[in-house]
Amino acid sequence: MSSSTQATAGNDQIPEGPSADTAAVPLEIIGRSPRQLAWLRFKRDRTGVICAGIVGAFILIAIFAPLICALYGKNPYTLYGQNDNLLNSYGMPIKPNGGIDSNHWFGIEPGLGRDIFALLMYGIRTSLGISLCVTILSVALGVLVGLIQGYVGRKTDYFLGRLTDLMMSFPQQLFFIAFTPVVIALFVKPTEQEPTYIRFFALVLVQFFLGWMSVSRLVRSQVLSLREREFVEAAQLTGASTWRIVSKELLPNIGSTILVQTTLLLPVNVTTEAGLSYLGVGMQDPTPDWGLMFQKAAEYYQSDITYMFFPGIAMLIFVVAFNLLGDSVRDALDPKTIR
């Protein structure tokens, strides 16, 4: 990968040194925007393209999980193992390899006997949904705070910066574990049955609460350096409003940072979400969830290791692919960065 990126890295660099002012420019008249150049570079990066394909597949799974399971003919709620007598008296799948057969491609769950393939499809959907919401909200708030800090500066910058520090010093895992039940209790009376969407909402909220700071810091530093650039002064000179300067001059220039941060933040959020479910404060049974599958699998791994494989390998592929994609995106957008 790196060889192909490096070979193309010099593409958009300006011929420096004593070049004649009227140097002949290539005949092609329509210029390539920095974005188009980045796209060209990205397309040449094979790892990046493969990872983009894998990530795309995961996203398609998340979107079309119901459709996939309908075609597959199973759902994640039916207790196939118990209904069809596929479990022995200890609750273990009778068939070898966790009960894998032509009917249940990934086998069945020990204990309840649900279909693992269907569980995984829906689990990816839940986890990715939560993480995507967290990521989008975090990035949006991070960009907003960073822009304000960087552009307004002075006291605002100082106080927002200290707030960011404060939030960053929270012990994340502890905070999530402690506050998810608290947030849920705010919306649901202890006596009532809690609806799934409340938990979804609460999980998004707590993770988002501690998720935006890295983005805001990065955006702030970028805006601080961009603001000093003369093209921003040129815009001020023409009487451009603050809004116009922010939206037309600053935002397009931090677009690549935002994109890279998003691709790096999402897998982190997915693992965090899975971690929370594993610890028992995330989604609850019977809602299918990626992290919850690990929790279940951990209970049975001594007698049925197969169950651990499928969510585990899926998660591994997902995180690796997403991180490599993030690297490739960064390389493509900013070929001058030295890794």
């Binding site: 660099q13 329509i30 650039r229 003369e230 093209f231 040129a234 000179l237 023409t238 009487g239």
Partner: protein
């Protein structure tokens, strides 16, 4: 470089007839230095610009020259109102615009434009040349006949670029070409005054002359007034009708081009002139080598600011600040701030003036040992801040 810059000398412009376009009086900018945790308090100020007066008439080119850090850019940014002046006033066509806010500044915004020093930082890398040039027009509701695109082509042609390149991005151009785009952007606003902040100092020497020539052509043809900022006198020589020499936030000498280049009075102007490469190397010229660093603008020397490096400095220079006056022997409009001005000549003297820091220190020690130590400790503490 000198050869490149010796352009076909235009006829010396006669005194401009136009009225004053921009009048600057006592313009001051102090950047506060803050210190302290949580509750910042001001511990001092960078006196970047300290009481500067000058006037630019319509269609006139004023060169502003001085060493790095003397406050030239700050002056330019104050005039364009990118910075808020600490004191003094700026009159544009008789209107006081010193503290006018953005909304009320709108009518004259387009008339004062700027060309920046760094051609790589002054164009938004995410916008096409077309957007870069039309954006300012849109903001100021300038509707050129024939539409924006036609106007962009015209402007690109005016500045010597291929008009078909309006769809290209800045990274596809060389430094000189980018600077031309910056010029086209300024021209699109139909300005009456352009502040050019070292527009060629970031460019290759071979290109500098081309860009200066272009600016000069525009200045002559369109009658735009210029404040041309440069750090040496050679660049502005053929461009400016008048020249101001700045040192540590103050104007040391200002006058017509001939006054400054042929009959300079201020020791600092002499030093700058002797540093500038001459078009004609056979000319016998005095040689002055300025030694030492520019003192810190946080704690500038008392009296005359140039005295720490001046070879004519005397007791009076320490205590009394020389006013910017038309001293005896000067033409009208030629003002010099010096107690002991040089002879109005640039011819070689018998002995070169070589300012050696060690020598200067020895001499000064003999004269004003007490003062010197006091001042040095003050400077030392200034640097610590």
């Amino acid at each position: 470089m000198s050869e490149q810059l010796s352009l076909a000398k235009p006829a010396l412009p006669s005194q401009r007839k136009g009225g004053p376009l921009l009048e600057v009086e006592g313009l001051t900018k102090h950047f506060p230095l803050r210190d302290g945790f949580l509750f910042k308090r001001q511990v001092g100020a960078v006196q970047a610009v300290d009481g500067v007066d000058f006037t630019i008439h319509e269609g006139e080119a004023l060169g502003l020259v001085g060493e790095s850090g003397c406050g030239k850019s700050t002056t330019g940014r104050l005039v364009t109102r990118l910075l808020e002046p600490t004191a003094g006033q700026i009159l544009y066509q008789g209107h006081n615009i010193t503290h006018t806010d953005r909304k009320h500044l709108a009518p004259i915004r387009s008339q004062i434009q700027m060309i920046f020093q760094d051609p790589y930082a002054s164009l938004n890398p995410r916008q096409t040349v077309g957007t870069i040039i039309t954006g300012p027009m849109e903001i100021n509701h300038i509707q050129p006949p024939g539409g924006h695109e036609k106007r962009v082509r015209e402007l690109l042609e005016t500045v010597g670029l291929n008009p078909e390149h309006y769809n290209r991005f800045p990274h596809e151009f060389s430094g000189g070409q980018r600077q031309r785009i910056g010029i086209a952007r300024a021209l699109g606003m139909q300005p009456k005054l352009i502040i050019a902040d070292e527009p060629v100092s970031a460019l290759d020497v071979s290109i500098q002359a081309q860009v200066v020539n272009l600016l000069q052509k525009l200045q002559h043809e369109l009658g735009i007034a210029f404040l041309f900022i440069a750090h040496d006198l050679a660049i502005v020589r053929h461009f400016s009708h008048r020249v101001a020499v700045m040192y540590l936030g103050k104007i040391m000498e200002i006058g017509n081009r001939t006054d400054i280049y042929e009959t300079p009075r201020h020791p600092y102007t002499h030093a700058l002139l002797s540093a500038a490469p001459e078009a004609n190397p056979d000319d016998e010229q005095e040689r002055i080598r300025l030694a030492g660093d520019v003192p810190s603008p946080i704690n500038p020397p008392t009296g005359c600011r140039f005295r720490t490096r001046c070879w004519k400095a005397q007791q009076k220079c320490t205590t009394e600040e020389p006013p910017l006056l038309q001293i005896a022997g000067n033409n009208t409009g030629h003002l010099t701030a010096c107690h002991y001005p040089q002879d109005p000549t640039t011819a070689a003297r018998d002995e070169d003036v070589v300012l050696d820091p060690a020598l200067a220190a020895l001499e000064q020690n003999a004269q004003e040992s007490a003062e010197e130590s006091a001042e040095e400790s003050a400077e030392g503490s200034a640097e610590e801040q």
